[in-house]
Symmetry: C2
């Protein structure tokens, strides 16, 4: 049997190369040291490698895995995107793993799960990775149990408290200033944050999205609050969520997905598509949210009018 | 008699050149067409021109005129700078005109005058030129009587209303969004401002100072609110106050001062010194406010520990 590393090699090579190379275009290549019972084939025209085993075994071609943004992809405001719930079921049937990744800071993992359930989606808590969890992971790694000044909603405060951190809303020494979206902070909170940062606290914002859709109204987002703080402090603000590279890396780790086999589905060219591309993920833009009318950048691999079209696209790309 | 233009030439040449050139270093130059009864002298070593009249008349050398910032120069918090009131009296005795120029948006001309009077200063309303008046001038010129959405204090609203404008605090069609400092707006106001700007209103901020001194505490300033709006709109925000060139130009017009004969006294390297230098004013930094510890830039002509030192400096520079 091949080693685990060699199997990964087979899988990835096959994933990249399937259905693109005619058989007669292949010639044998040295297998290298990893797994002597594998024969590699090198295409004459492309650098893609395929592999076959000296002792035949059944290789299951891997289904692609997906990161899926929620707001603007699975729902808009209080309504689900048409066919959204059945697309999730389709992915389950295909054996394609998925993780819902979101910059939402105003709902907990459980609240998001409940909202999705109410809209007809069948998903589990642990299939959702919100930026608030990534922020907790960041603080844990860097400070352990920490005292934090927070600008953000109650659910964010509860999450931090549950994970062993102390959340304060008054001006006192803290390790970090955490900024999540909230409706609306006043500038007195930014003023306090400025002095805490100048006294040594790390400024952390869950993301810097300029706007967000609130029940049909486009509102200023956390990006506006980040700008308000950034202009009055002398150090950069740590950003946690999409499009930051470490958010995608943390999501890969949490889901156990292979980077080269994972496709980001999102509605925002900046947060979703550019962010995913920057860390080597493939990307698919849907036109049901933030970037509905913007031209498709060359870095984006695919686009669809809506996630409703995903099954047909999936069949074309990967077979059934 | 020389024409007015020629007299200005004499005055300016003399102002720039006085006490720096030995008599024997001068040679006659053609007078040009402006005023044939004036003889100009050209220094051999410098490009400075001096002038003398063919028919001798008494030329009064002009006293320099001053723009003087208020907060951080004449007072800090609730206390006057030591000797400040007597310095104003000294300037009156010298016949040196002055105009108090300030980015303060939270007090009217009358309230500033009353505060200064309470601190021992003897100044008139029309010796004060606050940025709020400059904003009214700007709106008048551009829109006439206009409807404005305002983020700012009651005194700013009153000023605009007195000058014939309609101030609204709710989301309705307006010609302009006016942002003055206020303690504290909430981001919902920025959210409304964003939508009004996207609908066509001109975004106007009285200034973008990042911080301001509030009774001994340094607080975030209008610059933080400007940044919060700027990041979510697609057009630049019109800035009115220091260091904008048109503020200084408007102040010169209002005071009737000659640009080359005017010195800006301020405590802020950015608002006062850089702003004045950019429009050809001379500048003098005092170390009693915002830029107390920053190095003196080459663009600044003079510095003093405090405006209290101004009389001695004045005698040295201009005689009595």
């Amino acid at each position: 049997m091949p080693t685990q590393e060699a199997l990964s090699e087979i899988i990835l090579s096959t994933f990249h190369g399937r259905s693109t190379l005619p058989q007669h275009d292949l010639r044998p290549q040295p297998a290298g040291v990893l797994c002597p019972d594998i024969t590699f084939f090198q295409s004459q025209d492309t650098p893609v490698r395929l592999a076959a085993l000296a002792t035949p075994i059944l290789i299951h071609l891997p289904a692609p895995t997906f990161f899926i943004d929620i707001d603007g992809v699975l729902y808009g405001g209080s309504a689900p995107v048409a066919e959204g719930p059945s697309v999730i079921e389709f992915l389950r049937q295909q054996g394609s793993g998925f993780l819902l990744v979101t910059n939402t800071t105003r709902m907990s993992q459980q609240e998001i799960q409940q909202k999705l359930t109410g809209l007809g989606y069948r998903v589990q808590d642990d299939e959702i990775y919100p930026v608030s969890l990534a922020a907790v992971d960041y603080i844990n790694t860097r400070y352990g149990a920490a005292r934090c000044f927070m600008i953000g909603d109650a659910s964010l405060e509860t999450l931090f408290a549950e994970r062993g951190h102390t959340v304060v809303r008054t001006e006192e020494p803290v390790a970090a200033v955490i900024m999540g979206l909230t409706l609306w902070p006043h500038f007195g909170e930014i003023d306090i944050a400025r002095r805490l940062v100048n006294a040594g606290a790390e400024p952390i914002a869950l993301h810097a999205d300029p706007t967000w859709p609130d029940e049909g109204v486009t509102r200023i987002g956390l990006g506006s609050m980040v700008a308000a703080l950034e202009v009055v402090i002398s150090r950069p603000i740590t950003l946690i969520g999409k499009p930051q590279p470490h958010f995608f890396t943390a999501a890969l780790e949490r889901a156990g997905f292979v980077r080269e086999n994972t496709i980001m589905i999102g509605d925002s060219l900046n947060s979703d598509i550019a962010g995913a591309t920057a860390v080597g993920l493939k990307s698919l833009l849907v036109r049901t949210g933030n970037s509905a009318a913007e031209p498709l950048p060359t870095s984006c691999d695919w686009e669809l009018p809506s996630i409703a079209e995903l099954p047909g696209w999936y069949q074309t790309q990967f077979g059934s």
